[in-house]
């Protein structure tokens, strides 16, 4: 029988029942590889449920540092009888299936092309522990111990992790290490260890950290000076505000008085959450909310107000699979259009697209500068994959000399010195961005009325068509100003002068895209890439599309929303952009991107290859 042989390059998947304490054991497993200097990308695949349903944890190990989903499973650790039949089917030929052999396997599920590794976890636990809860919890630790022998994980690294986790609780350290040993010894005695797949220490992670995007975003909000967070709980964004709360308790308590230099309000719904953010921002505080798709729908009316009344607003959208309630615990990039044009009337909003935890941190902090500079909503679009999975990332960095960009705000002295009438919506500098004042600044100057109705340059209500148009034109001018302020795209040219084929991607498609591009290069296909990091699009996005004969756009949604946005905003023909789509709720894989690009370039697809030729023909 074939046996998958691989060192530091495989995918292992854990099938568990949620609510059984498997998460911390699985985390320990992943972190042990990370501490052996190996790049890993763990992904939680979990149900919208608290206890009793199947949940999976997939870890890719890759010493070259590819972090996207690869596709396929080399080893399955199956702890869930409910999902076992399907889990067995998922293993690649020559792969390994680890199971609890306390009960014999159902023979109908057997496959002859994979290797079955049984460890009687339940029996081992019953022998060792009398307490039922302990039997369940240590069962998880025992399989980690067994994997240590099977995959050659350094045992010291595991015991080190246990010591870190339970620092000061000697009893727990001893009992966990004992459980690891039970598993290790059983596997070492009954199987030839290591298996064909195994790990070896490397120095391939450098100074990188393991953090989820939501936590990184919450730290970005703290470093960015947010003082007000208003939110309504919704998966997968909840941990953004949870993180803000956790770190504020550590970092934002006034040492003298013990009072809080922040306020968090759990609102009654998303409408109220965004309303509070707008009220606080209007009054001069940095405020934010975090939500997901359904929240965006509810917040849309207020987003229109913030756009039209020009109030800074920071919103973090951790996208999940829609429409409607959709698949609440599965990932997608399907709020792109809903966010870009949220609300009725002519509106458009500044968007940010982070791809790594470090970008979640940086872009969240930057969102406050942008929102206050531009006096408009700024929405950071991340997703469940990035937000909720521990992801390898360069360390978080903050320049201590950096100052907050608070935008154009007149203070009391400036108002006092002013001889002309203050015009809240007057384009003084020609960049479309007017000056604002905070309430309570000056006894007689600078007060104005904020409203969602049309008004003149002095904030006085008007239904005069000319004044309305002038104001809408100024908002467009401000939009143009924004193009040079939002993060620039990241362009990687495969060769000097550029290739003929270009791939546009954004957010969490990054890792899979770059891996697919590397794979294509080994087959002689050179591809340039452009990663969109902000909206409105920088002019280099137009240029990239113009310069490449064939342009692919990778979207993790059904309707190719980023492609639509490009067609709409860059004035390119839809036929110039070929979509690669992934929307089954799991992150896009390098294999899929690679295969679809190959298929199109080989002509397996009816879509036109050379847009310029086509354009000529149609003339």
């Amino acid at each position: 029988m074939k046996r998958i042989e691989a060192v530091n390059d495989f995918v292992i998947k854990f099938a568990n029942v949620n609510g059984t304490g498997s998460a911390s054991a699985n985390n320990m497993f992943a972190k042990s590889l990370f501490r052996m200097g190996l790049p890993i990308s763990p992904k939680n695949i979990f149900p919208s449920n608290i206890q009793g349903l199947p949940t999976w944890y997939e870890v890719r190990v890759n010493e070259k540092g590819y972090l996207g989903r690869r596709g396929g499973v080399d080893m399955m650790v199956c702890m869930n009888p409910q999902s076992m039949a399907k889990d067995i089917q998922e293993v690649e030929a020559g792969g390994y299936f680890f199971y609890d052999s306390s009960k014999p396997l159902d023979l109908r599920m057997m496959r002859s092309d994979i290797h079955f590794i049984g460890v009687p976890l339940k029996d081992l636990c019953q022998r060792e522990y009398s307490d039922a809860r302990q039997q369940q919890l240590f069962r998880n630790i025992i399989y980690v111990g067994a994997l240590s022998a099977l995959l050659d994980i350094e045992f010291d690294v595991l015991t080190g992790l246990v010591s870190d986790q339970f620092r000061g609780k000697e009893k727990l350290i001893t009992s966990n290490v004992r459980a690891l040993e039970i598993g290790y010894h059983y596997a070492a005695e009954h199987y030839q260890c290591p298996l064909g797949i195994r790990v070896e220490r490397r120095d391939a992670v450098g100074d990188q950290i393991l953090i989820d995007g939501n936590t990184a975003a919450s730290l970005g909000a703290i470093y960015g000076g947010a003082t007000v967070a208003a939110w309504y709980p919704i998966t997968p964004s909840t941990s953004v505000v949870d993180g803000f709360d956790k770190y504020c308790k550590r970092l934002r308590i006034d040492p003298g008085s013990g009072s809080k230099n922040y306020a968090i309000v759990q609102a009654e719904d998303e409408l109220a959450a965004i309303g509070m953010v707008i009220g606080a921002s209007w009054n001069g505080a940095r405020a934010f909310t975090a939500t997901s798709g359904p929240g965006i729908s509810l917040m849309s009316e207020f987003l229109g107000l913030a756009y039209f009344a020009e109030i800074p607003t920071v919103l973090i959208d951790v996208q999940r699979a829609g429409p409607s309630t959709g698949m609440p615990t599965r990932t997608q990039q399907s709020d792109v259009l809903a966010c870009a044009y949220a609300s009725h009337g002519d509106t458009k909003h500044v968007l940010l697209f982070p791809a790594t935890p470090r970008e979640c941190f940086e872009m969240t902090a930057e969102a406050f500068d942008l929102a206050e500079t531009l006096q408009t909503p700024v929405i950071m679009l991340t997703d469940l994959d990035l937000g909720m999975n521990d992801t390898m990332s360069p360390p978080l960095v903050w320049d201590d000399k950096r100052e907050y960009q608070r935008g154009k705000v007149f203070n009391e002295e400036q108002l006092e010195a002013m001889s002309e009438r203050f015009g809240r919506y007057l384009d003084v500098d020609g960049d479309g961005i007017p000056y604002r004042t905070y309430p309570g600044t000056h006894p007689t100057k600078g007060a104005f009325f904020t409203r969602g109705t049309s008004r003149d340059e002095y904030a006085v209500y008007t239904e005069d068509g000319e004044a309305y148009e002038k104001n809408m034109q100024r908002l467009l001018k401000k939009w143009d100003t924004a193009k040079n302020l939002v993060p620039m795209p990241e362009i990687i040219e495969a060769k000097k002068g550029g290739a003929n084929v270009g791939v546009i991607h954004f957010g969490t498609s990054r890792d899979a895209t770059l891996e697919a591009v590397d794979a294509l290069a080994t087959e002689g296909i050179v591809v340039d890439t452009l990663r969109i990091r902000g909206f409105p699009f920088h002019k280099s996005v137009d240029a990239f599309i113009e310069q490449h004969d064939t342009v692919f756009v990778i979207d993790q949604n059904r309707d190719a929303q980023m492609r639509t946005l490009l067609v709409n905003e860059c004035l390119v023909s839809p036929r110039d952009l070929i979509s690669i789509l992934n929307y089954n709720g799991t992150p896009i894989s390098a294999r899929k991107i690679h295969d679809e690009i190959i298929a199109v370039l080989r002509g397996d697809n009816v879509r036109p290859l050379h847009k310029k030729k086509m354009a000529k023909e149609s003339v």
């Binding site: 009654e268 509070m276 409203r451």
Partner: protein, 350 residues
Amino acid sequence: MTYIRPAFRHPDLPRNDLGFTRKDYEGAISTLCAGCGHDSISAAIVQACFELSIAPHKVAKLSGIGCSSKTPTYFLGNSHGFNSVHGRMPSVATGANLANRDLIYVGVSGDGDTASIGMGQFTHAVRRNLNMMYVVENNGCYGLTKGQDSATADIGSASKKGEPNHFEPIDLASVALQLGATFVARSFSGDREQLVPLIKAAISHRGFAFIDVISPCVTFNNNPKSTKGYEHVRDHLAATGTVDYVPFKQEISTQYEQGKSKEVTLHDGSVVHLHKADPELDLNSRRSALRLIKDYKAKDQILTGLLFMDEKSQDLHEILGTSKTPLRDLGAAELCPGQKVLDKLNESLR
């Protein structure tokens, strides 16, 4: 109605402690219908702020959508105003208040804005004991869309079109009492004597101060069959008593008869006196207020005046434990922990 207001100010106009005249608290000319109750409420707010010697720019006025929500344009022209979206003023006021606890927040809403589209936000602002005065200008109808019944219209009450309302009315004062509002009053736009001291007390109160003001819609809901028209309200009023508001600085010289009056000291040291008309009213008892509202309603009377006060309550900032310095005044020194802290954090994530 004149649309030009003379800029001339008589040099002998009375001035308050800060040197402001009443004119400094006025706003733009109202564009509401002549005789609209809302304009009387605006005038009462102007009078109250003038008499309280509040610096006009230290007030933030907020509203939702509708005729009532237009009124912040017509008072306190030197204050920042925010005309938000329909029914959502409470959330905007909450955010504004979180950002700067030192300003005075005046929210103006209507019965549609509060009892229908904004019912959710209203109830939660009450629950949080947000430090603000929340005035509902209650006319039982949607004026700006030409007179549809609102959720506060009484059963049987008919608007201009003559169709009687069939649905149970929402009594906002009772709702506020049940949800924990710490200052609840009801008044009538035509009774300035009662309204001005109530507004002054509401502004001085720390916590959520709710005033339901019956304010007839002269155009769409002022006919004989309406229970929120001038005629009906005047004929069916009953008051909890007369209210005096005595600012902190002013010495109290009058002695009130025991049992018939109630004296409450607010957190800023000012005092509210209620000369009770109904000896049954216990100003610190929600149950007493709720019962009396029902009893009077059963007698086809509208009980107005101060209904309930809890002067010792904690407002949202006190509950959350936020800094005494307004959050918006904190700078990077207080807010940004710096790279050293990040270094440690990075280390813990390896």
